[in-house]
Amino acid sequence: MLLFSLWITLLATAAPVEDARGLLVKLAEPPKRIASYSVGSDEILLDLVGPERLIAVTSLAHDRRYSDRDFSKIKLKTDTDLELVIAAKPDLVVLATFNRREVVKKFSDFNIPTFVMGDFTSIAAVEKNIVDIGKLVHAQDRAKALVATMEEKIRALVPPKQTPTLLLVADGGFVPGKGTLFTAIAIAAGCQNIAENLVDGFNRVDRERLAQLKPDFLVLPGEDTSRPVADPLLEKMRLAGRAVAIPERYLSSISTSVADAAVALHSQITAKLDTQGKAIK
């Protein structure tokens, strides 16, 4: 009986979670006033604890291009004024490694617990972030359910008979290659990122090299493929009907939306494949 109650107590107390700094973060009580510094953690936290326990999110979370979640109840924005965020007395601040170290230090100076998210270059890494944040906010079960739903959505995707190749050219001519979330999303959708073997991470690629790639489909950030593309080479592909559009919020997301990105990509690609699994020219 004693052992059983000890076990129950251990279960009720959240285990410490290691963040990207290598620090073990543990909160004895479930945090009720959480501030978030990246749109990815905004979405993860909203899914985990709802708007009631969130006191501040990024401006991007309120922008429909970057998130389709409803953050309207959360008025305070973390990227406008640090003073206001500290004054709101958060009991947990979730940041990412791309946030300024000085900002992280400021919260530590005020004894406000911080958690810094690290890797988000694969679907597994995103799922780990969800589970870690879930532990931290005492919502482990909800986190597990979110991850299970993500995996279910991805498992349901039937890969095309022949793996279509994709090329995404983001604003400024940047192309995601090896080790990017887009490559992972493409694999989950049963496709292959053709730039995977060309560049590491995000990089600008020479137009002539892009011309040699000959992907089956061009992925355009946006709601539809009606907008002309500035690059004549890519525009030719778009006019030939070999372009698919993926909403910006899916491409820049590091939350459960990565599974939705894979689903959206899969449905658009399979609609453009013939019965043999080849791209309809």
């Binding site: 924005k77 004024d81 640090l82 300024r100 991470g201 990089n203």
Partner: protein
């Protein structure tokens, strides 16, 4: 007396504005102890860092203009600031993930600024002696070279997330969340520069009369150049490492101070930092409040203000 009180009054107003304006209203700060703490630990160190960065850059400007005997010579126009910024970016790209970067970034930025100032000082005493246009063109080339190199390193580094993150952190926002450690370090740099350069005021006055006259008056040009080059590199490199680029501050502040208070370097060395701090404090306040809810970096504001002033000076001098 009035002329001395004017810069102090302007600084007091700029300081009051910078301290009074913020996310938290002053009335709440005064009435709530918690918010007083936020004022003391967030707003105050930020304002002090801004002020010391502006003051340090102004000293660098006065020294550069005196050393090159040219009021268009400044760390920003000669490319010294861009080179220091490039060095800081390279140091972050290499040491960004290590604890060593706190030491490496300012050290490499300062060393680069010192080296380039020394090279330019040598060149200005040699093959480009007396050619203002050539000196400015050289500065243009250096700015373009290090600007392009910085863009290259940034683009190359951002393909690797582990090295890119500290760099992106450095490039995003300049004074956000600055602490007393930054203000303290810039104060030490500024104080050291003041102590070392105030006695050189008279030597710079003599140098302004011409190198031959200065030599006849007992000025050791080489010694003076070495000392001042070290100080210019120190202040410019430190500001680049801790606060990023603040274009034109080191150019327009000494020119304005010279117009208002005359050409004596001792006076300029005392008053230009006051104007420098005032200008950067006002630019910071403007960047934070004129474009609400967006916040504009101080460097963008000083660039927007400084570039037309620089152009006006060039046109007035007929160099263009």
């Amino acid at each position: 007396m009035t002329k001395t009180l004017f810069p102090l009054g302007a600084l007091a107003i700029a300081l009051a504005l910078a301290l009074a304006l913020g996310g938290l209203p002053l009335s709440e700060i005064l009435s709530h102890p918690d918010q007083t703490m936020i004022f003391l630990h967030v707003r105050l160190p930020r304002v002090l860092t801004v002020a010391f960065a502006g003051a340090a850059l102004a000293i660098g400007g006065v020294l550069t203009q005196g050393l090159f005997r040219n009021d268009l010579a400044a760390p920003s126009t000669l490319g010294v600031s861009t080179a220091a910024h490039f060095a800081a970016i390279c140091a972050l790209a290499v040491f960004g993930g290590m604890w060593l970067h706190w030491l490496a970034v300012p050290t490499i930025a300062v060393a680069t600024a010192i080296l380039l100032t020394a090279l330019l000082a040598t060149a200005s005493g040699g093959f480009i002696r007396g050619h203002t246009g050539t000196l400015l063109l050289l500065g243009l080339a250096i700015n373009a070279l290090f600007g392009a190199a910085a863009a290259f390193v940034t683009a190359y580094t951002t393909t690797d997330p582990t090295r890119a993150l500290p760099l992106l952190s450095y490039l995003s926002g300049q004074f956000t969340a600055k602490g007393f450690e930054h203000a303290g370090l810039l104060f030490i740099v500024f104080g050291f520069a003041m102590v070392c350069t105030l006695p050189a005021g008279k030597s710079l006055d003599r140098l302004a009369l011409g190198e031959d006259i200065a030599q006849n008056l007992g000025i050791d040009r080489r010694n003076l150049t070495t000392r001042l080059t070290l100080i210019v590199g120190l202040v410019d490199g430190a500001v680049a490492a801790f606060a990023g680029m603040l274009p034109f501050v080191s150019l327009i502040v000494p020119i304005a101070a010279r117009r208002l208070h005359g050409p004596h370097h001792r006076t300029l060395l005392l008053l230009a930092p006051v104007y420098g701090a005032t200008l950067v404090l006002l630019a910071d306040a403007a960047g934070r409040y004129l474009f609400l809810p967006a916040s504009i970096d101080v460097g963008i504001i000083t660039g927007l203000v400084g570039a037309p002033v620089f152009l006006a000076i060039l046109l007035r001098r007929g160099v263009a």
